[in-house]
Amino acid sequence: MQVILAQALLGLNVGVFYAMLSLGLAVIFGLLNIINFAHGAMYMLGAFVALIGYSYLEQWFGISLQIGFWGSLIVAPLVVGLLGILIERTMLKRLADLDHIYGLLLTFGITLILQGLFANYFNVSGTPYPGQPEVLGGVLNLGFMFFPTYRMFAIVFSLVVCFATWYVIEHTRLGSRLRAGVENPQLTQAFGLNVPLMVTLTFGFGAALAGLAGVLAAPIYSVSPLMGADLIIVVFAVVVIGGMGSIMGAILSGLALGLVEGLTKVFYPPAANTVIFFLMVLVLLFRPAGLFGKEK
């Protein structure tokens, strides 16, 4: 029992990253109808902003400034969010009227460029992020296992961010305007709301969420140019299982699939990477719109 509990907690740890990333994807898809393949690259970028802010500012730019972990939690999402806005304004916007596949190809290309750029300067095997705060070091005794304090922080922090996002979109005025803008852009615009601006900001917000997940991941995993590429395919599967465009679906299926993967690692490790895709096949066969999605 203790083993299962311990592994479940580790699964949850993976799950919160799935949840945060699939949430960003779901927001962007749900509100903008863009299949954002660059989401993994945004996650990678978030981790690199944290790493560069901590270790390389002086060496590269001659600025004697060090951005610590807490600072990165704010700076990295801002930087990544702004880049997202730039990409939306200058490139994705032009593809808005075309088929989804064009947006997918464009964002895939952006991913390859970003990965290539970072692989040129950083070790592909990964560089550890040295800036984990002292307070979050060490391990917690949970009775059934010793759990690294930082991982516990990452779980709690991500859950708060996920549910706050859900709440804003589903239960506030701002959220209802956003949803209205998606449902019927012309009518919403006629009411005096600036729909293109909302679209841009939403894309920026989705990218910022990925950047934030990247910062949170940096102290746990190595910061590597391919860290996003390894994850993004799984995250797409999570979104498909949850239901494209469903906010709560993305969060819940992210967490649940993290748990499933965690337990697979105990019972049959070689299947750990495939179990999610197996579930995706089942879901597509029996509920093509996803567990939480609505048939259109």
Binding site: Q7, V124, S125, Y150, P269, P270
Partner: protein, 406 residues
């Protein structure tokens, strides 16, 4: 006509430029002795071999005097991008059009096998310093292929032997779930059992696993004394990093890396990697001679040499020595000479190139220092013990290479 005239002029100029006796130069096949460094210049193995290997090769040529028997020596280099087809077409162009006489570096096993096969058809010597696979000197051995620095037998077997002898008898493996990981695990496991140790468990994890914590916890509770990492690159780095988060080494278990390079340790940092043990062919500060060369290398390259880069220098120097001694660049003669020579320089002591192409030499079991023990940025490794060549490498009795008469 014009071309002939130009070639003739270059020959005259080249001959005039060096005031060595011109008699022997007739023995070389053309007016330049070319050595090709074919490496990953932009990807995963860049820091390991890449541009540093070119620096090492250039140093070898300069130290040799820049010319041989009155003929200038030239280094050419290219990026194989870790693609066997690109590597093969570059090698083909080098050999057929540019008359390259010897190929070195060739990191990445698929590149290595492709180029070694091609070079065999054209009778060109390859001195592989970067790839790991034992197939180069076993199933796919060739009369001209030399495997110079390490292989996937020497590293894990060396580590396992030394660790079991030092008391680490119970092993648990984290195995990357593909042919390479399985062969690392099987090679190591066999040695552990042979020496009276025990393999208490093994987990096969998918390639490019992000989160090892689940596997590490299983390894932790298995009662093993040593956790063997039968994987490489990012997987190894991630596993070590997360073992540190769960304080596994502090809990008394040892981590054994099957394929770790000094550059991995450098990028992980001592805080995380300390206590890790693995096998290497060379440590830059292992003795005075190595230190002296490595400092020269550092001045030009900005980083201390990996075993692979140091190996390129040694391979190129010994190739030139052999050419000089036999007085021709004919591959059969040079390869025969290399097989007779006893190799001695800062990189290798009493090395022998066996008939299957494997360069048999002692290896070192090293342990990553703690931050307190380290004096400088690159002072990372402590030599624990020396592993004799006959323990580390596949012997001529065991080899599956068809070129060896048993």
């Amino acid at each position: 006509m014009l071309k002939n005239w130009k070639t003739g002029l270059t020959t005259v100029a080249a001959a005039a430029a060096v005031s060595l006796p011109m008699t022997a130069s007739a023995e070389l096949s053309d007016e330049v002795l070319k050595i090709g460094v074919l490496s990953d210049m932009s990807g995963v193995y860049k820091t390991l071999e890449g541009p540093g290997a070119v620096v090492a090769a250039e140093m070898a040529v300069e130290d040799f005097g820049g010319s041989i028997m009155g003929t200038p020596i030239e280094i050419v280099s290219a990026d194989h991008q870790n693609k066997a087809d690109i590597a093969a077409s570059t090698a083909r162009e080098w050999i057929d059009d540019d008359q390259v006489d010897m190929l070195t570096a060739l990191d990445n096993s698929s590149v290595a096998l492709a180029v070694q096969g091609l070079a065999e058809e054209r009778k060109v010597i390859t001195m592989n310093t970067g790839a790991g696979t034992t197939a180069l000197t076993e199933e796919q051995c060739t009369p001209y292929g030399i495997h110079y620095v390490y292989d996937t037998h020497a590293l894990p077997v060396g580590t396992a032997t030394a660790m079991v002898k030092n008391g680490g008898e119970k092993w648990f493996f984290l195995t990357a779930d593909y042919a390479f990981g399985h062969s690392l695990r099987d090679n190591t496991g066999a040695v552990v059992k042979e020496l009276g140790g025990e393999v208490v468990g093994s987990i096969e994890h998918p390639l490019s696993t992000n989160d090892f914590s689940s596997y590490l916890l299983q390894a932790q509770s298995s009662g093993a004394e040593v956790i063997g990492l039968a994987n490489a690159g990012q997987d190894t780095v991630n596993a070590i990093k997360q073992a540190n988060q769960f304080q596994i080494v502090q809990g008394g278990q040892k981590l054994a890396g099957m394929l770790v390079f000094i550059t991995d340790v450098h990028s992980m940092g001592l805080d995380i990697a300390q206590g890790l043990q693995f096998t290497t062919a060379f440590v830059w500060n292992q003795d005075e001679e190595a230190l002296e060369w490595s400092n020269r290398f550092y001045e030009r390259h900005g980083a201390m040499p990996t075993m692979v880069q140091a190996g390129v220098y040694s391979a190129v120097s010994n190739y030139l020595k052999a050419v000089d001694e036999v007085g021709t660049d004919d591959s059969d003669a040079v390869r025969a000479k290399l097989g007779e020579m006893e190799l001695n320089d800062f990189f290798v002591k009493n090395g022998k190139i066996a008939p299957n192409g494997s360069m048999l030499h002692d290896m070192f079991l090293v342990e990553v220092k703690s931050p307190d023990e380290s004096d400088s940025e690159w002072d990372l490794l402590e030599v624990v013990s020396r592993i004799p060549a006959e323990q580390a490498y596949i012997t001529m009795e065991e080899t599956k290479c068809g070129l060896v008469n048993k």
